[in-house]
Symmetry: C2
């Protein structure tokens, strides 16, 4: 049994925004952390942070996570941020669920490499759709960055499909934390009309993820 308690996951509540005349449902990367907590049947409290009212920038939230981002996982040992770190922490805290190849240093590094690519390249490509203002204050430059999001995401997903997705799960036969992470990112593509169907293995993965009890439980809980 894991030596952790008092888990609270702060995640971004779903938002529906209209962009280019289209209604888009945004789900943040914090979804991945919630899925893995569900996979290990962790006792935790899920606390929705309202980005529409900028709650992630409130004094209370910033005192816990000065980055003003999600997810934040509060534990009896302290606060954790950043998706790859939270996912591995959950996998290591509940080793009986086998969500990471903890005993194999090289295989673990392959898993970390995959997750690191998602956070440092794929998520960043995606972030230029709605969050380009992080990197420029110019309205015209923001609009220019938005234009390149579909081709960048297509390139990233082509690379995952052809080079990194082993099948049936990301890492091969074993379902791992990388699957929850990939599923979360896969869900973003429709916002800018990149069809997941063009990546057959990832599309099939997305459908199988949708059927997992942990994913169904996550969506039921996720506000």
């Amino acid at each position: 049994m894991a030596d952790i308690s008092d888990l609270k996951l702060f995640y971004a509540a779903k938002r529906t925004v209209t962009k280019n005349g289209k209604e888009i449902n945004y789900t943040s990367v914090s979804l991945a952390s919630m899925i893995v907590l569900e996979e290990v049947a962790a006792e935790y409290e899920a606390i929705a942070i309202n980005f529409a009212s900028n709650e992630q920038r409130s004094e209370t939230y910033l005192s816990m996570n000065p980055k003003g981002r999600v997810p934040t996982l509060a534990t009896n040992k302290g606060i954790l941020t950043e998706t790859p770190a939270i996912l591995l922490f959950v996998a290591q805290s509940y080793p009986q669920f086998g969500l990471a190849p903890i005993a194999d240093i090289f295989e673990l590094a392959k898993l970390q490499s995959f997750n690191s690519y998602l956070c440092s390249t794929v998520h960043v490509n995606h972030a230029h759709f709605a969050r380009s203002s992080r990197w420029t204050d110019s309205e015209s430059a923001i609009a220019e960055c938005v234009k390149k999001v579909p081709s960048n995401m297509t390139e990233s997903f082509n690379l995952i499909e052809s080079e990194y997705f082993k099948g049936p799960w990301v890492m091969g036969d074993a379902y791992t934390i990388a699957d929850a992470y990939l599923y979360t990112v896969s869900g973003w593509l429709s916002a800018y009309d990149v069809a997941l169907e063009q990546f057959p293995k990832i599309y099939d993965h997305y459908q199988r993820m949708n059927a997992r009890p942990a994913v169904i439980a996550t969506w039921a809980k996720h506000q």
Copy 2:
């Protein structure tokens, strides 16, 4: 003794480019991986990849690392990419050097969180200086993105200085892989005239890193 052999680190050779009339020395993030290999006294071959001639896009390199980025660590077990994954792999392969709190799941998660922030936020802020073309094809938008790099990097370093750097090393008393990573990123600020001196703890850290035998050995080897 680590169960790995045949290590080859492919890293970006230093480049000097002129930008806004100023000569700038670029060192890539692969420096961090070389430092930790030196810290554990690993037997490895360091292979410089010439970005000036676009060698990272050569067929030979892409067959090994389809992302066309550095670093790449070749091992007897296979290929690894992505800095956070390579750093943890080296720390776990040479546990006697104590470069990561492997036995403490929560402390390891804090370390991974720090490294994840560097790769997904700080490195990305930096990349908008010379690599904005990843996210937009518009020359004017690229120029606009460059403008915001100094303030974004200042914000990131203020956050590290005030919230995450424990001292005397990133994680506190123990020198870890996060120190090699932070040192590498700290070295980038001068390119856009952000003075490291304004972050006293990180500035002091940078000087102490410069004096480490592993860092001296790295610079001697680094082409």
